[in-house]
Symmetry: C2
Subunit: 80 residues, 2 copies
Amino acid sequence: MRATVVVRPKQGILDPQGQAVASSLRALGFPVDEARVGRVVDLEVDADDAVAARAQLERMCEQLLANPLIETFEIAVPQP
Amino acid sequence: MRATVVVRPKQGILDPQGQAVASSLRALGFPVDEARVGRVVDLEVDADDAVAARAQLERMCEQLLANPLIETFEIAVPQP
């Protein structure tokens, strides 16, 4: 089953990569106020249904894919 | 106007970060077949409407946010 996890820096957490992107875009002439950079992970997981897949993905996020201190995550699995 | 750009490695392009994630997840006991890692960029752009914002974001992707040789990008702006 295909699933997607999106990991973003939490609001208020410094995001140097986003700042670099925003400043580079402004240097190229684009009127950008702010940019924040996160990760998207597309996974092929072995699960019986979407509910089981989501439970598994939450554990993956907590253990490896996201740092809960500074990042939030969203999980998207195909609708059952 | 808030907008989101998702940049992913193209199909067939080697993704060492995704391979490392998949192998780490398997080492933790998760039954993962494949993982691909991309970037998500949330931007606050200064544009009159969604059409203008999308045109601007396409130019940003071509010039800075994505490498069109090895990456694809998707743009999401609020519906007009």
